[in-house]
Symmetry: C2
Subunit: 466 residues, 2 copies
Amino acid sequence: MKYNPVTGDVIQALQQITGEKYVKTNPDVLAAYQSDESLAPDMWHLPEVVVAPGSTEEVARIMEVANQYKIPVTPRSAGTSVSCGAVPVCGGIVLLMERMNRILEINEDGMYLVAQAGARTSDIQNAAKARGLMYAGDPCSADSCLIGGNLATNAGGNKAVRYGTTRHQVYAIEVVLPNGKITHLGAPLKKCSTGYCLDQLIIGSEGTLGIITQVTLKLVPLCPYKLDVLAVFTDLAKATALVPKLVKAGLNPTSVEFMDNNFVRRASDYSELRLPHYEDGFYDIISIETFSEAELDAKMDILASICEKAGATDVVEADDRVWKVRRNCLESTRALSKVATSEDLVVPVPKIAECIQTLVAESKKYDFLLFCLAHAGDGNLHFQIMKRDMSDEEWKKQVAAFRDFAYPYVYKLGGRLSGEHGIGYKRMPYLERCADPVELELMKTIKRALDPNDILNPDKVIHIEE
Amino acid sequence: MKYNPVTGDVIQALQQITGEKYVKTNPDVLAAYQSDESLAPDMWHLPEVVVAPGSTEEVARIMEVANQYKIPVTPRSAGTSVSCGAVPVCGGIVLLMERMNRILEINEDGMYLVAQAGARTSDIQNAAKARGLMYAGDPCSADSCLIGGNLATNAGGNKAVRYGTTRHQVYAIEVVLPNGKITHLGAPLKKCSTGYCLDQLIIGSEGTLGIITQVTLKLVPLCPYKLDVLAVFTDLAKATALVPKLVKAGLNPTSVEFMDNNFVRRASDYSELRLPHYEDGFYDIISIETFSEAELDAKMDILASICEKAGATDVVEADDRVWKVRRNCLESTRALSKVATSEDLVVPVPKIAECIQTLVAESKKYDFLLFCLAHAGDGNLHFQIMKRDMSDEEWKKQVAAFRDFAYPYVYKLGGRLSGEHGIGYKRMPYLERCADPVELELMKTIKRALDPNDILNPDKVIHIEE
């Protein structure tokens, strides 16, 4: 056996680090930390102990104990992962980051913010906003997720077209390495060519190469002017071909969101609203932000003209009705099927239409329903796959068969398995199958070098053979 | 001894890979590849053989031979490094990338360009421009340097304030690893959360972790409108405090360049030109690019108003005279001293003034002259240090003493040794002294794991003990 059980000695060692209060073994607490938001109960697993450190030094000492006793450690932010990233699949210790939640500094001249890893993303957004600046990371779960988890999964979200994903918002991190040593990687510098880029290696490694304990985030100027536009297309290829046209015209859209006609109809019914081309429309919702009203007006004129030339049937301001329909998308499918799974595929922007068409055609061979919502601006396609009334066994079989087709196909398009949710435990076996074998071996070489006991979030992203 | 000499067997093995024509051992060729543009003859070193592969497969097979015989390999692009990055300090093989110089694809919808690593940077810029797009990487040596070298050092250059440095322009790379295996890292995706970010680890590792053989670069829309402004200040702190003000106002400057008064006077004399405040001025040259004339006009009004409020004595269009003075900066110092060395320090933007003031004050204790040119927009400070008439021995001693003060001081400000030139061999001993010891050990752990024989560009960035 690779790991040892959590014994009384281990518990005592943990208690000496954090105090008894923050070391929990009661069954209800353990049960609360067996899962995340992945809704995949067959993948959940109970931890043996939950510990909540109050400082970076405590995190470091916990890693020392874990190495000494060979106990796996699963770092956990808010547990909003949908990839079983925070599920302690090998048991052992769940390490809760939520006590380390302070915003430590907002440097207005340097345009950066320093926070502990357990700070809530929305608290960081609000703190920046209060100073007239913006933290541009904006995952949909911003109200509940914690910044350390955002970095660990390189979370995407609503503003990635203009500002990039979470890894692009980071100047520096403080990290506890698997061996329990503390280091500081990166710096609040706009330019640097001083040694290896280790900060970006740790970011997005889903807590397998280090535990991020503190972050230094870039702040950007807040755009005071904003307008959202709904462009309706009756042709999928035209709807998704819009993106490079907007970018090339210098419109610098903050986001370009896409709803397929299944979602348009379902969410409109659910919301009791009728928007243009309910029967056959594909929707693009485009957000533009500017620093002046004149710039906004000018960009809106260009936007309308581009949309019309691109074949849009309607171009209207995206008012509350549009957002209501958009917000109700997932909720509206619940009545169709209580059990569902979602994909987080990402493809090069020019391949979006082809990918949607091919996977929709493939889905017709199965008994499930497949709808598509996309962050079209960055090629990130969320397919909602709904079980309906088939048996559990059949459902598993059909989803697996669909993935066996879809994942290699997406790789062939130059795409990848996850745009913003991460690999976690859920997609780990698929990454092992789809990734370039040399790339995979390189990941494992680095993991083995940094974590020889394979105790930090094991079986996430990659599997290390014993 | 860590390495073996290049024997007849090795030469023969290399000839079998590339053909005899591309394996050179004649003394004049070896002498041509002992140096780069670092002008540090005491650090130069002759290679034993120079080989110019024509394909990625040939690069891979050369690495296999090098591992088999334990011969060090120094990859070389155009040799424009000023940090001895391309100097074969341990002898062995110099691996020339210049034959692999083709631009393979320009994808206008996907907004990316694929090229071999030996393609010239200016050829890539021009190829993009011909399609109405821009490759935003723009080192000063763009006319001579090759793109692989740009990635290896994470080159900075003229547009980094708006677009970031070279690592921010890259979607994907093809790499030959130290063990001779070929892999593809990254993808032309705007979003990705699928495994470790290995592309960014290789980029900026100065050819020590892998040989980049092919690159997929981001293209951005070309701004048709541009204006350069000279803002003159008589107060250093006010001149350098301008940057965050411009950024916060949403001006999104392409570059903000700074000249201290030493350079203003020296380069004006040399150019036989008098610009405002020749006697006591610090110059900021600000470039703004836009997609419309109206936007440019609006931004120019805001820019002028910000500069005036910030204490500028003059705000004028930066015409040919200004650029002539700027271009003549380095040339104008040659008459002061034929021997000079330059620093490439980088500090957080709010620390620029403090750093310049402190290092100028420190420099008064020495017999050399110290002038400062800065990419102020990104905190990258180039100090030109001129020997004048002191002895070689004294010069060495004084520069070393100055660095012993300057480097730890810059780290204390949150800065680093190199903004855009890299560590190479020249600054390697200083990185060993200045970097966080845990960070340094982490770099070495990764280097050892990927290159157990330490044959790929050894003694650059870090030193691996035998």
